[in-house]
Every structure is written in structure tokens, then in C-alpha cells.
Symmetry: C2
Subunit: 335 residues, 2 copies
């Protein structure tokens, strides 16, 4: 009987899941609300129910060989246990998600931080598909700024799976407080909320007339996308705010270049959908700040998979662990 | 007949060289002034003469299997050609040092940036000796700040051998101009000259009475070491200047932790000999800035090899290339 894989992308608001064949081709996927307030066990039941439903939809597809799960926070990849999930209720600390899912679905389960999972997706099925030895840094810019790093085609996890937190580089040592407790992290300067905060400030000070029209003067309706529309309609200070955020991302990217000299820097996450207004300054800042080093081969691109990177990476996570472990344990993989 | 290896550490003021057996044990070493003003070919003759002299001193030691050379700047590791040597005269650009040395000494020659070479030395013969899979970042703090990164026991070079330039991370985006053209690089804030500049400022403003006594009021005699003595004798502002430099190094180290999560950060180079007054703040800044991530296992230590790291690394460079290439080409190795 043939085997297939499942990938799960656990988010604060929705659970996405997909089934794929052994080569990673997704043949069915769906999502349900997370309802994280109900607690970890209830959410794990929801994940299991979603996977079971996809399997029943799939017809006679063989046996489930393994599941990769992207988790919004830090996880102990060796034990499949959550550590710190900043956007989930506190009872999510130290939950043995891999073991609980394995009990319910009867196959090995591997966990990984959600942005490292998306990085793996981009590496195996997006920009890195044709480059098995790619060195790449992935910035996921949304409510927070997450990241992931692949070196010579291998995702870098570090001893506890915490490598790749590109959003917590210090960009301004005395800058605004970040959710992590540090000051001046990239996340505190260029995440969606940081960008919106600057838009709202301009709105309230009467410095963004086009934005004011667009959102009817309602600060709650300011988004990075509305800000881009306002900038394109003539709000120069709104444009500058977007470029300033991109400049901070560029500094973080330039720092990654000095340390790793990757061939590719990928901007993903919802905010990255703004496109050129972010990418162009990032490219310029890299040239300005580390152009004395050979950087011509360092490309900066938008994510190729967009919001599909997480599920693609969860499938890849299962694939790679099965290849490593021969489908034995529910907790392998470290690098 | 047995084989041996040579290592060369080319600096702006001196050339060091050593011979070692196949296991990397150095049995003879010496140094001569570089006299870089005489031009690349003359310097290459001096290197060759030094190696020949060491060989003649070594007695009947077999045949020279290969030479590793640490170069103060950027080199194209695949061709063995210099690219940009900031502290050498301009005619050092695009010099095929490997080929010129091979002509003279009749064996394969491999080049590598000097601090990456020292990193390799620390990795194979210093802190990393018993840890074949060590992930480590090496800061060399002297006239400039160089660096190197090893991942899972392998030195990271990047496509052009330029990875690991830890001194050119941006720490203060609007900070002082760096020699590289960028603003606010770590090198512009915490290198020997940057630290001395702060000491001289305090001296001239009458804010460093102990330092004034120590150097007889002569700004030219201010060094990081004199500053440490003055700080220990009671010059509080001099102490603060040293701790401020260490704090900048700590921010750069914390950034490396977010990206790579290494097990070890090594401080080397002349300024690192100041010891605890640098290391303690670096450890504290890592805890303060990225302590929400698991960092208990990230150690910060002084270089174990000190100024011998460069030669040890040059020997290791020859060893590893011979292992990879079977002593064929004069230009291999990329990762």
C-alpha cells in the first residue's frame, strides 16, 4: 500500500492542514479555526479531526507515514514539545504536541517553529527548488517578524531549534521596546503593528491626507496595504514611513550578509506582499552598507510560495525526517 | 618519504610561517618583517625564502605537501587571488599569490582571509579541538574587527570567501563612519583605534587622571591596555568606555546568536587580551537582549590559541584542502 504525508500549520487564528504524496505533491488541503482559548488538548483534537477528515476525503490513499507541524513559537524539536508560544495562551508551555498527535493519528509527528517551517517550504518547493545547496535567509514580516536560515541547502536549527530568529536582531540599541523584552529589535521597528503605528501617528497629526480619506479618519482601519495605497496617491510621509521600515529590514539583511553571505534573501509574510516598496530599499541598503564586500550575487526576492510556504514546509519536514529516521521515532532531527 | 605542511600568516608588519607534520603538530616556526612597500612580488619572495629557510632548519623532513596562507583581506579562495586588502598598498589587488608561491615552492597553496584562518585554527586546535561539530563565531578585535563563523564544524566561507565579517555588522545605523564606507559598524565602535579614540578624548578633557599619569599626558601612548590599567586604578569614565565597547561587541554577538545560535563565541585579537572587562559585558548583553530565547548553552570565551591561532589555522587550511583534493590543485575548497 502506498504512503502519504500530512502537513499542519498551526496559527493563532486558524489551523491549516494538507496531505501530500511521497514526493511532496499536495492533493488535498483545508483549514479550521484554531479556537486556542479552548486549551491545547482541544486544539490538538481539532488538528487530528481535520487530518482525519482530509484522509476520508482522499479516498483509498494508503497509509499516513508521518506528520510535520509548524508551531507559532519555540519548540524543542528533539522531544516535539512546545516551549514558548508568544501569541497563544500560557497553558501552551511544555505541551508534548508530537506525542499527543501521535496517540491520536498513529504515526510519527515532528514539530518546528512555523517560520522555520515556511523557510523549509521555500527551500524545498519555492526559490530553493532547483538549488539543493542554497544558502538563504527568510524574513517573515507580519504581526511579528520571524525568520529562518538555510545553509548549503540545510535548514539551520541550532541546539534548541531557536536559530533563525532574524526579527530579534538589535537594529537600534536604544530603540522602542520589543515584545521579547529587548529594545530596538527589527520586529519592534518594521513588523505590521510597528508600520501601522507610524501610519496612525501621521494620520492623527494630519500628515497623511490621502490615508485619512481612505480610512475615513478611522485609525483602526490603517493597515500596511492602505498605507501603500495612500503613499501611491501622494502621501509622501506615509511613503517615507514604509521606506523607513524597509530600511530597517535592509540593515538586518545586510547584517545577515556579513555573517553568512547567503545567495538569497527572501521576504515573506503578509507585509512582504507590499512588494517593491520594501524590496527596493532592502537591496539598496545591502549595497550601501556592505557593498565593499562582494554582494552582487546576493539576491533579494519576495517569497515564491507566499502563504502556502508553511504547509509546503510542514510536508517537507515530514519528508526529511522520514528520510533520516526511516519512520521510526516521533522525535528526531537536529542540526 | 614522509610529508609535511607549511602555514603562513601574512600581516601588514610581519610574515609568520611554520612547518607541521601531517597531524598538524608544528615543529618549527619563525617570522620576518613584511616590508609590504616593496610590492607583492618582493613580499612573496620573502615568504618563499622564509619557508625555504624553515625547511633547511628542519633537516631531512620529507616533502612539502601544501601551504595554507592567511591573507589580511578578502581573497578569492577558488583561484588563490587577492581581492581587497584594506591595510596593504593598492598594488595588492588581484595578485595570484597562490600561483606565485606555487611556482617558487613547488606545491599546492591555498589562501584564506586571515581571521577566517584564525577561526579555523581555533576550531581545529583550540576551543573546537574536542568538538568536531562545533558551531562557533570568532571575533578578532584589533586594529580592525574581523571574524569567522564555523557551522557544525565547518568553516563558513560563502560563495566568495567573504562570510564571517562580523566587524561590519551595523550596530548604530547613524553611528561614526567606518573604514569600509558604512556608518556605525562594530569595527567603527569597538576596534582598538575606536577604543583608543575614546580614551584620548577623556584624556584631553581632563576626565582620566590615572590615564594621564600613566601616559605622561601623551595621547600617542594611549592603548587599550593602558586604559585598563587606568580603569583599575580608579578612572571610572575610562572603565565605562571599555564597557561601552564591550557592549557593542555584545550586541553584535547577540545578533549572531539570533541568526545562528552557536554554542560558542570566541573573542580573539589583541584587544581581547583585556579579558574579563570585555567578556563579562558581552555575556550580560547576550542575556539582556536575547535571553528570552534559550541561550544558556551559548558560551563566550577568550581565544584559546591567542596569537598562534593564525598559524594553526594556516596549517589546518593546508590539511583540509589536501584531504579534500588529494594534493592536486592549487585552488579548491568552497562551501
Amino acid at each position: 500500500m502506498s504512503q502519504f504525508l500530512a502537513g499542519v500549520d498551526l496559527g493563532g487564528t486558524s489551523i491549516k492542514a494538507a496531505l501530500a504524496n511521497g514526493t511532496g505533491e499536495i492533493f488535498v488541503s483545508d483549514s479550521v479555526p484554531t479556537e486556542s482559548h479552548a486549551g491545547p488538548v482541544a486544539v490538538i483534537e481539532r488538528i487530528a479531526a481535520l487530518v482525519r477528515r482530509l484522509i476520508s476525503q482522499g479516498g483509498n490513499i494508503g497509509s499516513l507515514a508521518g506528520i510535520g507541524v509548524g508551531i507559532p513559537g519555540l519548540v524543542d524539536v528533539s522531544t516535539g514539545t512546545t516551549q514558548f508560544l508568544p501569541n497563544m495562551p500560557t497553558q501552551w508551555r511544555n505541551v508534548p504536541v508530537a506525542a499527543l498527535l501521535r496517540e491520536r493519528l498513529g504515526c510519527p509527528v515532528w514539530l518546528l517553529n512555523d517560520v522555520r517551517t515556511a523557510t523549509l517550504g521555500e527551500l524545498r518547493y519555492g526559490h530553493g527548488k532547483a538549488s539543493p545547496r542554497l544558502t538563504m535567509a527568510f524574513f517573515s514580516i507580519g504581526t511579528g517578524i520571524g525568520g529562518g536560515v538555510a545553509i548549503d541547502g540545510q535548514l539551520r536549527l541550532g541546539p534548541l531549534g531557536a536559530a533563525g530568529e532574524l526579527g530579534h536582531q538589535t537594529i537600534l540599541p536604544d530603540g522602542p521596546r520589543c515584545g521579547c523584552g529587548n529594545r530596538g529589535c527589527l520586529e519592534a521597528l518594521a513588523s505590521g503593528p510597528a508600520i501601522i503605528g507610524e501610519g496612525v501617528r501621521l494620520l492623527r497629526n494630519g500628515l497623511a491626507p490621502r490615508l485619512h480619506e481612505l480610512v475615513d479618519g478611522n485609525a483602526d482601519r490603517v493597515t500596511p496595504r492602505e498605507m501603500l495605497i495612500a503613499a501611491n496617491a501622494g502621501d509622501e510621509l506615509v511613503r517615507e514611513a514604509l521606506i523607513q521600515a524597509a530600511t530597517y529590514i535592509g540593515i538586518a539583511a545586510a547584517n545577515v550578509v556579513t555573517i553568512l553571505h547567503p545567495e538569497l534573501i527572501v521576504l515573506g509574510g503578509g507585509v512582504a506582499e507590499l512588494g517593491d516598496i520594501l524590496i527596493t530599499p532592502v537591496r539598496r541598503v545591502i549595497q550601501d552598507r556592505v557593498g565593499m564586500f562582494p554582494t552582487d550575487h546576493v539576491r533579494v526576492e519576495s517569497s515564491q510560495l507566499g502563504d502556502r510556504a508553511g504547509l509546503a514546509g510542514a510536508i517537507a519536514l515530514a519528508q526529511e525526517n522520514i528520510a533520516i529516521s526511516g519512520v521510526s521515532g516521533s522525535h528526531t532531527r537536529s542540526n
